[in-house]
Symmetry: D2
Subunit: 359 residues, 4 copies
Amino acid sequence: MSSSFGTIFRLTTWGESHGPALGVVIEGTPAGIPLAVEDIQFQLDRRRVGQSKVTTPRNEKDRAEILSGVFEGVTTGAPISLITYNADVDSSKYENLRDVFRPGHADYTYWAKYGHRDHRGGGRSSARETWGRVAAGAIARKILATVGVEIYGFAREIGGIRAETFDRDEIERNIVRSPDPIAAEKMIEAIMAVKSENDSLGGIVEVHALNVPVGLGEPTFDKLDGLIGHAMHSIPAVKGVEIGEGFEVTRLRGSQSNDSFTVENGEVRTRSNNSGGLLGGLATGEPILVRIAVKPTSSVARPQQTVDTNMQPREILVEGRHDPSVVPRAVPVAEAMLANVLADLYLRNRAARIGWPPD
Amino acid sequence: MSSSFGTIFRLTTWGESHGPALGVVIEGTPAGIPLAVEDIQFQLDRRRVGQSKVTTPRNEKDRAEILSGVFEGVTTGAPISLITYNADVDSSKYENLRDVFRPGHADYTYWAKYGHRDHRGGGRSSARETWGRVAAGAIARKILATVGVEIYGFAREIGGIRAETFDRDEIERNIVRSPDPIAAEKMIEAIMAVKSENDSLGGIVEVHALNVPVGLGEPTFDKLDGLIGHAMHSIPAVKGVEIGEGFEVTRLRGSQSNDSFTVENGEVRTRSNNSGGLLGGLATGEPILVRIAVKPTSSVARPQQTVDTNMQPREILVEGRHDPSVVPRAVPVAEAMLANVLADLYLRNRAARIGWPPD
Amino acid sequence: MSSSFGTIFRLTTWGESHGPALGVVIEGTPAGIPLAVEDIQFQLDRRRVGQSKVTTPRNEKDRAEILSGVFEGVTTGAPISLITYNADVDSSKYENLRDVFRPGHADYTYWAKYGHRDHRGGGRSSARETWGRVAAGAIARKILATVGVEIYGFAREIGGIRAETFDRDEIERNIVRSPDPIAAEKMIEAIMAVKSENDSLGGIVEVHALNVPVGLGEPTFDKLDGLIGHAMHSIPAVKGVEIGEGFEVTRLRGSQSNDSFTVENGEVRTRSNNSGGLLGGLATGEPILVRIAVKPTSSVARPQQTVDTNMQPREILVEGRHDPSVVPRAVPVAEAMLANVLADLYLRNRAARIGWPPD
Amino acid sequence: MSSSFGTIFRLTTWGESHGPALGVVIEGTPAGIPLAVEDIQFQLDRRRVGQSKVTTPRNEKDRAEILSGVFEGVTTGAPISLITYNADVDSSKYENLRDVFRPGHADYTYWAKYGHRDHRGGGRSSARETWGRVAAGAIARKILATVGVEIYGFAREIGGIRAETFDRDEIERNIVRSPDPIAAEKMIEAIMAVKSENDSLGGIVEVHALNVPVGLGEPTFDKLDGLIGHAMHSIPAVKGVEIGEGFEVTRLRGSQSNDSFTVENGEVRTRSNNSGGLLGGLATGEPILVRIAVKPTSSVARPQQTVDTNMQPREILVEGRHDPSVVPRAVPVAEAMLANVLADLYLRNRAARIGWPPD
């Protein structure tokens, strides 16, 4: 079940980077929701390789097919199976990596655990697996839209360059998904520079969810924070997660970090949002704010020191086609995982109190 | 199941801060493991209130009783039920908080979600719930000890004061659990200062796990990272989690952040450990390094602006007994949650490959 | 998690027959449901030992205490922890059974699996564990009552003597819980006869659920049938389960066994109920009918051939206090498990379609 | 998760009877097991439609494709995705059934629950879904074969005609899968007779598992009995399940029904096997014996009384292609579900005691 995520709205992904196909099965979508393949494809295209000069040139259309769970354009409550066939697979570059461990990759750990592994393109550990997460996220968004929840993400930082201004409309206007057009320029420059040096950059993705019903979440272990932490830390290359002010809040005093309550237009609100929209694991109704640390792409076409399955030292050059920075493509993945968490909790929480949340 | 955590090694906590008792049921402990109540009490005492001047003066002995699952000092494989009775409960301080929402607490969100709640001492949302996590963690450590895994934690930072040196032996010698005795002095001073001002401090807890078998973890969603993220973000007051270099790694280049492999004494090792001991969600065998951001205690005995259940503005003063900083007591909780994750994965992973991991 | 049952409404039982206490933790009860300990005790008393001459003389009051999850008489949504202390424990009769396997009991299989076991009174494998199932079932009934579901059970057959008439009011008027007072007499006689011969009888328990909302259940694996099968086959001593006409339906033709639909008072009904109220795993709205086969009590105070842990043949006499027939006490257990299944599905199913089922 | 089954070895089926394809994703197969598509196809062919005159003439080759989880003929531990494309779909026969409820089918209950449904060929509720169960079962058998477990099933009874003799070699020699060749003749005759009358027959399938390791199973709720009950009652058309002597054991006395222990060739054995190889939910090492009641096929091409979605009475004739008795094809399905349960428990139980079960 390690390939599954969620309790009621539950996705199970399958497939390897260079296998015949990849897919996802989504259980728990309520019946009666209009769903077209275009709804899904729109999000997949935002994650797609080859969408700009800052992404890998591997060319996958990533076309989704709906194989079940939708009848005459509307969900039936049955599991939705989505599939995409791998088209532009070039495994030749991986032949010399069959018995060697790429630094920063899962080659060594998979080999140690499983003994036998599909080494081509990272096999199961490839980030191509996130195709299914984004596809499921598109359905999660449809469920959440029924109660007005909106989710969007952006590059807060790439290679240390920070988006200092925020204009939501700017995000999808530039290829790095920065809400600050000036920072966007610099980020693109920085990426092109490391690309020319066969190196890579990391960064920080930020995701917001608006209009989340007050009280959404669960206490104790399945706090909304806990499930977000689980979801985000399961995305390849993520090494850190913050909610609200995150690590910075540790340097404030309690009297400063507490968000005081007030009433606006008959609704309870907080004057600040250091908590990132969560108290006790439940949504306060303020925007949910999440940031994730994305490490630089591990595949760099430079000589690296490593060892092979015979415990012999080796110098390798990882060829193949890679993103000089995965941050722009990590944005839709992070959004999708937040959507997946919220949709699941929205459905689970209908059991918390009869009549809650209101439809 | 929001009060449960784990798949094979699974804990279920129950109880409210001012109820008659608190407890935890632990399923999945293998039979044949010697277990004495002292093994558990030792860890509970490290978490206990009133252990020093930097913790709350509430006086709970937190005595654990083993009610099941152990026969003649050895586990039987049956669920282990542990209980502690609340002794020093003073609910009078909470009577005036019955219909008002304390800033930084879960009062408002619980009220919105459940309609009816136990407001006394935070009820179910109180950090007293972590008693069961630490108790379970003591059993998890016994399981992990059978394969040599060792776990310890410490205060990396309190109120912005950072432990700059590291001596593991120092940690338990000072009341803030700092591995740097000089920083410890400053941290204690800082806590006593805010305490006198009825305010509070946050900080950063760091936890390490040594000798984790190579390959421990799961791919895809239940990456060891994902489960650690889930576990740590479910601890009250935690607002951020980092693994290895965390957010800092985003400012490196791929050629810098990759940990290159080498062979030492016939074992695959990495020359650096930026990844914090995890690749592709599986353990590399290097130390697992986790840091968590702990917000300042929300309960501060100062006037705060808030609203009540009638949507009326109120000024409140949160009395009761509180920790000026929960960081020192958060150390055993974070250790326990890491132990709970690792024990569960150790048991789950026995199914990954026949004969793996070696006992 | 083998000691847990359910997805949203989830119970976890713990405790051994001769340990200090037994208990159950129930997660997922919606907030806002009035709950008194008497609601629970009423059902526990129906399961209690020593309630009549046809049950074991072990004297346990089985008093339940509510330790959490209820505040001022109303559920809060937090886990409900219930406990009972074992009072009338006499382990002396078991000392000579420490290293020997009682026929019909789990001694041998537990020993083979776990190596170390609590042999006293059957330890974890004792039917005393069903205390927690019945306690949870009392809460499940409260949840189900909000939508009008009613559950009752009775002895359909004991020692081959069958209840031929059905008067629901008769059931609790006789000590074997037979709906046919004449059969009741004969059943009691038969039990007293085998009791005097140190032997035991089995029988068939039947349980009905009325007013189950149409559509309750799940497709595919978690069909209501599947969950009922799981629940009932997990009750100690159960060797068979039938739904509706069960095995008899296999001897009909399709044209006979199909329940044809009709409309009565504006509602879809079936003219017969061979299916026992279930089609495709979902409730039809007709009464749900379940029958379970209960084997004769394994503990009989007669010489029996067996072997010990040294693989040596032994003749044993199982002393201790036992039910000459557990059928009457199995009735509330079977009812409780059906209630636990239905309450869980009622809560889960709120996610199946927005607005369904109507509160 | 209603479309998923199992904990460690976990299958998720998807697809509708008349959709483009059907499939199953199987998680938890250990790495290192040789697996060819022929291993799977062999079992699928035993379940296939159109295999003889006693099955439906719908012609589906049911060809399986392996899309993931197997590399160079050996499992990798990654999820295994299997797919088959529907070829011989004829939905025209179902057009007039769009708004009417076939007796004995899930049309009404699905409509009531989901509002919107795929009515063609029963949609999701069709027994075509069992394709995935049988495919997964073929993999489960490969896992179980590593410890010598063997599973086979047969028709114990069809239309009231009982197999009185047992010769395992006979089973696959006749088209009804009867171990008694004389009964087989009569069963075939009986089926052909009802077929000519546009009617159908039910029956009883029996499944045995040999060489199950002693102790396999779980206590309390996930008793092997409980999981078998769950698995079998989730198969379409099943209305009853018996283990060992089942309902008949209720008419014995305890002194008769107990299986006494003895030692044979240094192993603990029982002299009889009334318990069907299970004590306390764990395997005794004796053959596991399971029987399931299969109702007569609901689709009969005769006029039947029913109602439609407008609550109007209707007479319908269910055309389409149907099995006059599904019993012969239910045999491989029941075998597969038993294999799925045992494989899951075998993998789960590796956590029960360090070093158990022996590989």
